[in-house]
């Protein structure tokens, strides 16, 4: 890793039309952590979440959300966001999700994810939400899919950026 290349934008996608999922594939294995930053508007209520390497099983999550409540979910086929607070369907308003995917290329450990999101509007289950997710696989993560939880939920103009963070 060259000097100054610690926090690097790997790829970004901006939707020109609605989409059900967004996938980043062929992720380089040269970083320590990944940070996935999403800003999106949704057409209707759905529970979005992350899948790795095209696998739709082996995920669980524990999270907190506004109202000071906590839940655990397993068997969702992904690490779900927006279970406590809903997606933003208000026009011209975009929801921010920041996800840290730690040690994504480490083949000795399962993969742990920290994430936070919020819905600052007054509709669709507003609030703040943060949590931890587990992918019960020791495989290195080479692709990430953000599943919106429905058909063409992600709306035009939504942006998704994947960053790499490299440790010395």
């Amino acid at each position: 890793m060259t000097a100054g290349a610690t926090y690097v934008p790997i790829a970004t996608q901006t939707l020109g039309s609605s989409a059900s999922t967004v996938t980043f594939s062929s992720i380089p294995q040269t970083y320590t952590d990944l940070r996935f930053v999403c800003s999106f508007n949704s057409s209707s209520y759905a529970v979005g979440g992350l899948q790795f390497n095209g696998v739709a099983s082996g995920y669980s999550t524990t999270y907190m959300y506004s109202g000071v409540t906590s839940q655990r979910l397993t068997g969702q086929g992904k690490i779900p966001f927006q279970q406590g607070t809903g997606p933003i369907t208000q026009s011209n308003t975009f929801q921010l999700v920041i996800t840290d995917i730690m040690n994504y290329s480490n083949t000795n450990t399962y993969k742990t994810v920290l994430w936070k999101t919020g819905n600052p509007t007054t509709t669709d289950y507003p609030g703040y939400e943060w949590g931890v997710g587990l992918s019960s696989s020791t495989s290195a993560i080479t692709s990430i899919t953000f599943d919106s939880g429905g058909t063409n939920i992600f709306q035009t103009g939504s942006t998704f950026t994947l960053f790499g963070i490299a440790a010395a």
Binding site: T6, P9, Q13, R72, D100, N106, T109, T112, K116, A167
Partner: protein, 190 residues
């Protein structure tokens, strides 16, 4: 929709293109584990510090695997440290206060690092060289083991105006070790 890597962001500013987020040091625990992890001789050339890492804790008893954060050679309960934290365990949420420690949260349940399950944390240490301020710390920590788990959001305080030159990540309550493959990386932010 899908995309191969190669569509590079071109209008991202700040630390991304001006090299203001820099890797300082990384510690990875080897075979046999270790009781604490220390970053020492931290350069004073940054404004803030961030620690990112995964950890598994084995030994001790359930409930004793929270990580404590100490500065400048202190490695045990000291009244200059305190914190408030909000946490959820998957069924309820609560908050607590500690005096003597900055405790980020638990990294393992029932020594599950032996099964490959590691907790994760992102720690922000603000204005670490400012000798006019006490030091404030913010952490987000969590572990999920597919049946147990918890997530913590913390605000910690070190009542010292000394610049931070070393950081120790300890099990906090004794009797446990960082498991092999635990790894923590220290970054400087300008």
């Amino acid at each position: 929709m899908s995309s191969s890597i190669g569509i590079y962001a071109s209008q991202i500013s700040g630390h991304l293109v001006t090299n203001n987020f820099s890797s300082i040091q990384t510690v990875t625990v080897g075979s046999g584990g270790t009781s604490s992890i220390t970053f020492s001789s931290i350069p004073s050339t940054y404004t803030h510090l961030q620690i990112r890492g995964i950890g598994g804790v084995t030994g001790g008893t359930t409930g004793n695997t929270d990580m404590a954060i100490f500065f400048n050679g202190t490695t045990s309960n000291n009244s200059s440290f305190s914190q408030h934290r909000l946490y959820g365990n998957g069924s309820s949420a609560s908050s607590d206060y500690y005096s003597g420690y900055i405790v980020s949260g638990r990294f393992s349940f029932n020594s599950d690092a032996n099964s490959g399950i590691f907790g994760a944390t992102v720690i922000d240490i603000l204005d670490y060289t400012n000798t006019n301020k006490y030091k404030t710390v913010r952490t987000l920590t969590g572990v999920d083991s597919n049946g147990a788990g918890a997530v913590w959001l913390n605000s910690g305080l070190w009542q010292s105006t000394s610049a931070i030159t070393s950081i120790t990540l300890d099990d906090g309550f004794g009797g446990s070790n960082w498991h092999q493959y635990s790894t923590f990386a220290l970054y400087g932010i300008k």
